[in-house]
Symmetry: C2
Subunit: 286 residues, 2 copies
């Protein structure tokens, strides 16, 4: 199957039939949902899915409903040929690449919300984003019906939202979190890194530096969230091309604000570098 | 299996395991979701499910999230023993009767909305009702994972909402509509008929009379929705114990208001008879 490359399916009904047949043969299915423009971060998920399942399905769908007005839906990088080649080289069995009309047929009017968990961080700065994410992920899970679905912790809030949705709705799938994958320079892998100029790319390293600073200061015993957020913000603002969207320190399970570092704690950043919005995060346990 | 009665399951995980095993044996599963207080309307759905599937699952769950404040959640009739007996006599295989905490575990925060279709009729007079319905039906479908699920057309808007949700979210289940079932006197079967006094029961027949009048007048050639709604309302208001919630004439697929009877048309009523809210409807095709 690897030699001939993955089978490309665009119809939800056909995809459903393919994986239903696999399930009847008791083959386990690992699923990696993506928006394409596949990078090594995605491929680390694919490789993990490959080792843990009999079959691997990758979806490629730039989901319009998770982009706000004025966001980069139109500009979002799309490179089908390169994506398929990468999937082929990792032994992906099926690539599901539906069109917008396949996923949102005429008259569609069903939406899924995960409340509270989406009240802050990217949920606050991108209204409607997680409704779009939750709705499309539920559609994809119903179409592919995998045993396991793989989500990167770079999109930490997205991972939590999907995990909560799956629990609340009793969706029979295991959501597998995968460690954030960094490039050699330390920048968190993202399809949006394609937007960065060479200079901005260097400037963008301040996100990782701010998170490293956070970890170091917590290890030194600094437990005040306000102090830590202030120090991270100062570091980031020292780079002129950046503009902070948010610097947050929250409970890593509930995403509720913390005043003191205690338990599992998430430090999360969203920063504009030039015109590109980047996110990064780290979890400490105290 | 009929002799010993249906197996009673309250844990979602156990239910999921039971039906997963059935699916692996290629047994088809028919599902009838109910709020209990089973009457002949429910049992007509169960009998149909029995003839069309290898196994039949009935759920009994009085879903709190589809009741508004001041509605009859606490008073809603509950009779587990009688329900189980009826299920036993119709050869039901599994009865799923979870508790509130099973269906809504601590921290639950996921909701499903079907927009537009819920803008009028019961969606307008019971805000939040269909969010509760869609969310719990999705949970139940994920837990039971049936091949077919049966919904009565008495709750016509509910049937449309569920059908649209299933289509929009690609849920692999066939939603089977079942004809409204009337008692011998013509009253649409409803667990809420239990609330009626003997006199109110007679008064309640005016709902059916208004719908019969509607059908007759359409056959005679009256195609003005305003005229027909006016005549139905006048008929109902002639019975002093009634109070109209709504009298509506809408497109039977989109539930959009109509001014002229054309195509498949739904006439739908919600009427208080004493303290009891009753609904009824009929579809004509012109």
């Amino acid at each position: 199957m690897t030699d001939s490359g993955p089978r490309l399916v665009s119809s939800p009904a056909e995809m459903q039939a393919e994986t239903a047949a696999m399930r009847l043969q008791a083959r386990t299915i690992g699923f990696v949902p993506t928006m394409g423009a596949l990078h090594d971060g995605h491929m680390s998920l694919v490789r993990r899915a490959r080792t843990e399942n009999d079959a691997v399905v990758v979806s490629i769908f730039v989901n319009p409903t998770q982009f706000g007005p004025g966001e980069d839906f139109d500009a979002y990088p799309r490179d089908r040929a390169a994506d398929l080649e990468k999937c082929a080289s990792e032994g992906v069995d099926l690539v599901f690449a539906p069109g917008g009309g396949d996923m949102y047929p005429e008259g569609h009017c069903t939406t899924v919300d995960v409340l509270r968990l989406t009240d802050n961080l990217c949920g606050l700065s991108r209204p409607g984003h997680f409704r779009g994410v939750a709705t499309v992920v539920l559609k994809l899970l119903n179409i592919v019906q995998p045993h396991r679905a793989y989500f990167g912790e770079k999109d930490y809030q997205q991972f939590l939202v999907v995990k909560r949705m799956v629990r609340d709705l009793f969706i029979p799938v295991e959501i597998v979190p995968c460690e954030l994958f960094r490039d050699r320079d330390g920048l968190a892998m993202s399809s949006r890194n394609n937007y960065l100029s060479a200079e901005e790319r260097v400037d963008a390293l301040v996100l990782k530096e701010a998170l490293d600073h956070f970890r170091r200061r917590v290890e030194e015993g600094e437990l005040s969230a306000v102090t830590l957020m202030g120090e991270m913000a100062e570091l980031i603002e020292s780079v002129p091309s950046t503009q902070i969207d948010y610097v947050a320190i929250v409970d890593a399970d509930t995403l509720e604000d913390l005043s003191t570092i205690k338990g599992r704690v998430l430090a999360a950043l969203a920063v504009m570098v030039g015109d590109t919005r980047l996110i990064d995060n780290t979890v400490v346990e105290v």
